[in-house]
Subunit: 340 residues, 2 copies
């Protein structure tokens, strides 16, 4: 596709003239599908709403990361997964993604194509089309390589909130956690590990089990600490995690120990944490396990919620194998290097 | 609000921990309104769709500009206007905006606050709430000051496309054009001029006249040249502009002559170009004129469409006062410095 084009992106491709139009056509050669949306090159894309549409869910994420390519993924993949998953955790069906890209002039066209292919792959896997977008090219040095912002819309009959944990609920993790951070750090610090990013779209998983979930959230930035604590605090519940069933692979534990990181703050980009009533736990786990590859780690119960006796008991507590208990806190500073 | 805070934004405020939450709360102190949306701090915002919702319109824009403050506006204002207006030109009612911000550490908190206030002002003026967002802070030098990406959703019964110009339609400009580019260039090159950006949300104008519009587009990036030519080509129409009624102020003409710019490529951020049947022209102009301040310039007829005799006649032609005619072309290179 780039036979006649310069090896690197040039400034004019973001200028609003012919070159811009050509770049957009090139993007559309790779990121093809707009699904049920009508995109006539107007200023926006149009979706004919089904008659029974009740709730519209709307979300956005910005990504400027270093490195942009890492074991198992790249900036395009996590931008897509991030937004698709944010809609999914709310119990909605993601119906369309907007893709906004800012690149510096001189950015490698080959790398750009690689990122677009990765975006298209997630779009197909998740069944969620990229329906509208914007592409800007800045002068050299105004941005570090590339920044991607995705926004997404979804529709749903019922919304799942992150404050709906009930006493007695089991806390389930859809897979092993923290691998996204470890993969990025490994690449950045040239550390040898087999760990790849856990990033993937999980909307199809939620589509199957959504009706069973009392609360749901994805442990991205801030990890299990920030996100499960938020769920527990909003639900005014006490959540006890069992050290024996923590969803972290040995290699992940090893890296965090080596680098002195807080394991509970590691981010995942393809996992969710959810609260399920006792009567639905078995059914939920059974379905989720069909989605898991050995790399993901099996969906499993990692804790249980109970009514707190007082305000101090609201939050997340780790029960250690020796019978101790400590409260898990949201990181107050920068416990891991900034990666997303 | 920033009593205990550092003068400049720090990296931890984008880290996903407590500092991030504080920053989000600070943003929400200024950008307050979420309108009819429910935002419980979940991963997305939720809107209860009216039962008669037919079409969902979805769009996005990325803004990294230099300078970020300029006569009459700033990056926040144009980000809001750009997205609100993109929805409006399609005949839809904008219902919610997502606000994604990437800043470099060390960015002035005062400037950030100024931008947020400006975002909030447009939101109130247009009656379109900011309902969801993402804020990231990068290491120094990874981004030039601040980048803002807005996405927006709108709903409508009927969609206006940019390919609907009919033979005989009058082409109307909602106000004077090109002032946005001139204001930015003046600031960048320290050139003295009274011209301010024309950026403003025009959704309320379209709400009133939408039923009369056969085609509509806002002449942002690429200006009248790129955008009216696109409308004419998609509609397969010949559009004749009259040199005597060109919607450019004297000062705008003067600056373009001085700097050797193509006046037809100047961008506006608060104007739209539309095609209206003869029977609706008077009514449309009458309504639009009620929205115009002297600064905007009155809405007026700038041209007329006719059925082309052959393919060569498809496009936009300028009839000069001396009786000549020349075809207006979309810029093939960078005719004006990159500003948005």
């Amino acid at each position: 596709m780039y036979n006649k084009k310069s090896k690197n992106i040039i400034l004019d491709e973001g200028g609003g003239g012919y070159k811009s139009n050509e770049l957009i056509l090139d993007i559309r050669k790779i990121v093809k599908d707009t699904g049920k949306w009508k995109n006539t090159g107007d200023d926006g894309a149009v979706f004919k709403l089904p008659k029974d549409s009740r709730n519209l869910v709307f979300t956005t994420d910005a990504f400027i990361i270093d490195p942009i390519f890492f074991p198992g993924g790249d900036i395009g993949k996590i931008a897509m997964c991030g937004t698709i998953n944010d809609i999914a955790v709310m119990g909605a069906k993601p119906i369309g993604i907007s893709l906004s890209i800012v690149m510096e002039e001189g950015f490698s066209r080959k790398d750009f194509e690689k990122i677009l292919k990765s975006i298209n792959k997630v779009s197909r896997e998740a069944g969620v089309p990229v329906v509208t977008g914007d592409t800007k090219v800045t002068e050299k040095g105004k941005i570090d390589k590339i920044e991607i912002t995705t926004a997404g819309v979804g529709i749903s009959q019922k919304i799942i909130n992150n404050n709906g944990i009930k006493p007695g609920d089991y806390i389930i993790s859809s897979g092993d956690l923290g691998e996204h951070t470890v993969a990025l750090l490994a690449k950045r610090f040239n550390y040898q590990t087999k760990i790849k990013t856990d990033s993937k779209p999980f909307n199809k998983e939620i589509e199957k089990v959504g009706k069973y979930l009392n609360a749901c959230k994805d442990p991205t930035r801030g990890g299990l600490a920030a996100n499960l604590v938020e769920m527990a605090e909003k639900s005014k519940m006490k959540v006890i995690l069992d050290e024996k069933t923590l969803p972290y692979k040995k290699e992940v534990v090893a890296v965090t120990e080596l680098l002195g990181l807080d394991i509970f703050s590691l981010a995942s980009e393809g996992r969710f944490i959810t609260a399920v009533s006792p009567k639905n736990v078995e059914g939920t786990l059974k379905i989720l396990k069909t989605f898991n590859s050995p790399v993901d780690g099996e969906a499993k119960i990692i804790g249980r919620a109970s009514r707190p006796k007082n305000k101090k008991e609201i939050g997340v507590f780790l029960e250690t194998e020796l019978g101790g208990s400590r409260k898990i806190e949201i990181s107050r500073g920068k416990l891991i290097p900034r990666i997303c």
